[in-house]
Amino acid sequence: MHTVVERTQLSPNVTRLVVEARRIAQIRRPGQFVIVRAGEGAERIPLTIADADPAAGTITLVIQAVGKSTYDLVALDVGQAIRDIAGPLGHPTEILSAGHAVCVGGGVGTAVVYPIAVALHDAGVRVTSITGGRSQEWVMLEDELRAAGDVIVCTDDGSYGRQGFVTTALAEVLATDSVDAVYAVGPVPMMRAVAELTRPAGVRTIVSLNPIMVDGTGMCGGCRVTVDGQTRYACVDGPEFDAHAVDFAQLADRLGTYREFEQRALERRRCALAEQMRTPATTGAA
């Protein structure tokens, strides 16, 4: 069991949980992920390790509530526990040793790019982080990123930082500064757009992929992605790949495999919660 020791709301649907996982906290490296199972009967889902405190024996998970399993996770309070955490999985990020890196995070992807930015900074690399969201309340981890270098914040509606997409800001950086590598994590359309921006100049671009996964050890093949025409498993061959070689259309398509099921599961969860809310009232009336 992995007790939640800290819980913070980062944006309307993104929650940060700091949980006990002593072994993983000691050995994890930036870019790696864990497979999490909230409780008995719960789904196994992959989550990037956003941070770790080896001394305290805790890791940080940043979770966007989109389906039943993630809603169950973010509903956990401090003192409650996650049943299973397995990892650390996947290859750690290959960190540059010098130069200038741009870390681009879209939405919850900012939490994935954040440990990479820190590791780059610690390795002596100059880091520019670009993060964005729909509006101010969706911007996250800005102060944390600032500790690793410059930060450009973008919002779609211009309510905070500059108005526009992260790719607009990235295009400006690419045009005005020398860039040795770009690390981009976010929704598939964002990562694809970043890849297209950096492709003409051949700037090395790394994306971290989060396809559907069951075991996380290469056993199921559910996370297969096409990279450079070859089938690769994101769990054991990745999760990071050369953005210029990834078949993003296929990735986006495969991510939609269970869309209908997820909607039904979410609906069931809402009904069950509503039922729970109703039950005490009914008892009281009787």
Partner: protein
């Protein structure tokens, strides 16, 4: 259909009214007239829509009647046919005498997981394949008898576990599948402290994620694991050796290590369209259904339930997948296999059960393309095959017939054509020798290139059966025991294995 069929044939002359501990007074001639008893099973039309176990098991009367068919050969060939060398005539004799406790003890001495093997072993190519009675007629139903005795033992657990005094030695077992569990049980009986590392959240390996409920109920597996826990075996879930711990670390923390991580990575067909939505590896499909419980109505884990499901392959895994699809509501559940019916590598009983459940067999056909529509599977394009000259495995090599392509409409394709080695552990273990396919190399005693590190099961031999993995686990346990006692593992012979097994 009758839920409790009695034995095949009518035996008014047989009396079971003899004193306990004695054999029924039957003449050898009478014994030869007893026909093989049928396994009671759920009717096919009913079971094709549920996940309850197909085979219902012998009752005591059927078991004793079947046990009386055993000729108690002086040189029993059945034992040689068994990868873990169960003393088959001994437990059958004890069963026939009505001494179930002694029969169970005898069986459990030889076999750590008899509830499992009694259900999933390919008996027809092992013990029953060697049975003298099979030369003329049907062999003794050894698997059914094993299951009967083992299930009885599960419901009537013994109080004494026969453990030897603690040796103070610690052994790590990597993987909690059949090889790992067997090795752990044997080592615990010998007084060693055993810790099993399992990558998943639940132990059992292929017994839990792979073999479906209707063939091997998970409750049965959990009981077998609880029996091992009762012997003091500690199981650590969510521990991925190669990631959470390295083999080097385990070597420094334990006196010996047994690596039994299974084969792991699924092989795909390498045809166009394989990454369409609706193409699963059998590993993924079965793991979703079995380990994650996706067949249950309120499951958090989804599985696609196709109306027309094509499973590619002809082994036990393919049969498990296609029968699972049927139970999940597939109107058409089809096996596509490139050779003929006689070449199907699956257990005979599985093929028989599949046919009874209305599974269609598209034999002598090989996939050439997964046909898609809007990103989803719409069909499987195949080519007709014919059998040519025998290949190195002795089976006739299939070859495509030019221009014979045809398409099977399908909304789900499950690929069950085998696995290859998973490098997660081996790639991170310094000095561990693997062969060109990534499988771990071992000596005759099961020791790897690293002193004190042994290996067995699919990560050594490639995809094989539960019982072969168990045989490896048992042999490795004897070798580890000798190694921990300061003896050279090369001293471990078949004889030592048998002596060790009796202890």
């Amino acid at each position: 259909m009758d839920e409790r069929p009695t034995g095949a044939g009518d035996y008014p002359e047989l009396s079971f009214d003899h004193a306990p501990g004695e054999r029924a007074p039957i003449s050898p001639k009478e014994r030869m007239t007893i026909e093989r008893q049928h396994m009671p099973e759920q009717p096919a039309d009913l079971r094709a829509h549920n996940f309850a176990e197909v085979n219902l098991g012998f009752d005591h009367q059927l078991a004793i009647l079947e046990a009386e068919r055993c000729l108690q050969c002086r040189n029993p060939a059945c034992i040689d046919g068994c990868p873990v060398r169960v003393n088959i005539p001994r437990f059958i004799d004890l069963l026939a005498r009505g001494d179930l406790r002694a029969a169970a003890n005898s069986l459990l001495d030889d076999n750590a997981l008899p509830c499992v093997t009694g259900r999933v072993c390919p008996q027809e190519t092992q013990c029953e394949g060697r049975c003298l009675r099979g030369k003329k007629g049907d062999p003794v139903a050894i698997g059914y008898l094993e299951r009967f005795v083992a299930d009885w033992a599960s419901h009537n657990p013994a109080t004494a576990d026969g453990r030897r005094p603690a040796t103070g030695k610690r052994v790590a077992v990597v993987g909690s599948g059949p090889a790992g569990l067997t090795c752990a049980g044997e080592l615990a009986k010998r007084g060693h402290a055993v810790t099993v590392f399992e990558a998943f959240h639940a132990p059992g390996g292929v017994l839990i994620y792979g073999i479906p409920e209707f063939r091997l109920p998970k409750g049965v597996v959990r009981q077998e694991i609880e029996r091992l826990a009762g012997l003091g075996v500690e199981i650590v879930p969510n521990a991925i050796v190669g990631k959470t711990y390295t083999l080097d670390e385990l070597r420094s923390m334990f006196d010996a290590v047994f690596v039994a991580v299974g084969a792991g990575l699924p092989i795909f067909m390498d045809v166009p369209g394989e990454n369409l939505k609706g193409v699963y590896s059998a590993n993924e499909y079965l793991t979703r259904v079995n380990l994650m419980g996706a067949y249950l109505p309120d499951s958090d884990t989804p599985v696609l339930d196709g109306q027309r499901v094509v499973v590619v392959g002809g082994g036990n895994v393919a049969m498990d997948a296609v029968r699972t699809a049927r139970r999940l509501g597939a109107q058409d559940a089809i096996i596509v296999y490139r050779r003929g019916r006689d070449e199907l590598p699956a257990r005979r009983e599985e093929v028989h059960h599949a046919e009874q459940e209305g599974i269609r067999f598209e034999l002598l056909a090989a996939p050439v393309e997964v046909v898609g529509e809007n990103g989803w599977v719409a069909g499987l394009r195949c080519v007709r095959m014919e059998l040519g000259e025998p290949d190195e495995s002795g089976r006739r090599r299939p070859r495509p017939i030019l221009g014979s392509e045809f398409t099977i409409a399908a909304d789900l394709v499950v690929v069950a054509i085998g696995t290859r080695s998973n490098p997660l552990l081996t790639a991170t273990a310094t000095g561990l020798t693997v062969n060109e396919w990534g499988y771990i190399e071992t000596d005759g005693a099961g020791m790897t290139s690293l002193l004190g590190v042994f290996a067995g099961g699919d990560i050594v031999r490639g995809a094989a059966t539960v019982i072969l993995a168990m045989g490896d686990g048992k042999r490795a346990a004897a070798a580890i025991d000798a190694y921990l006692a300061g003896e050279l593992p090369a001293a471990v012979t078949t004889e030592a294995l048998e002596v060790g097994a009796a202890g």
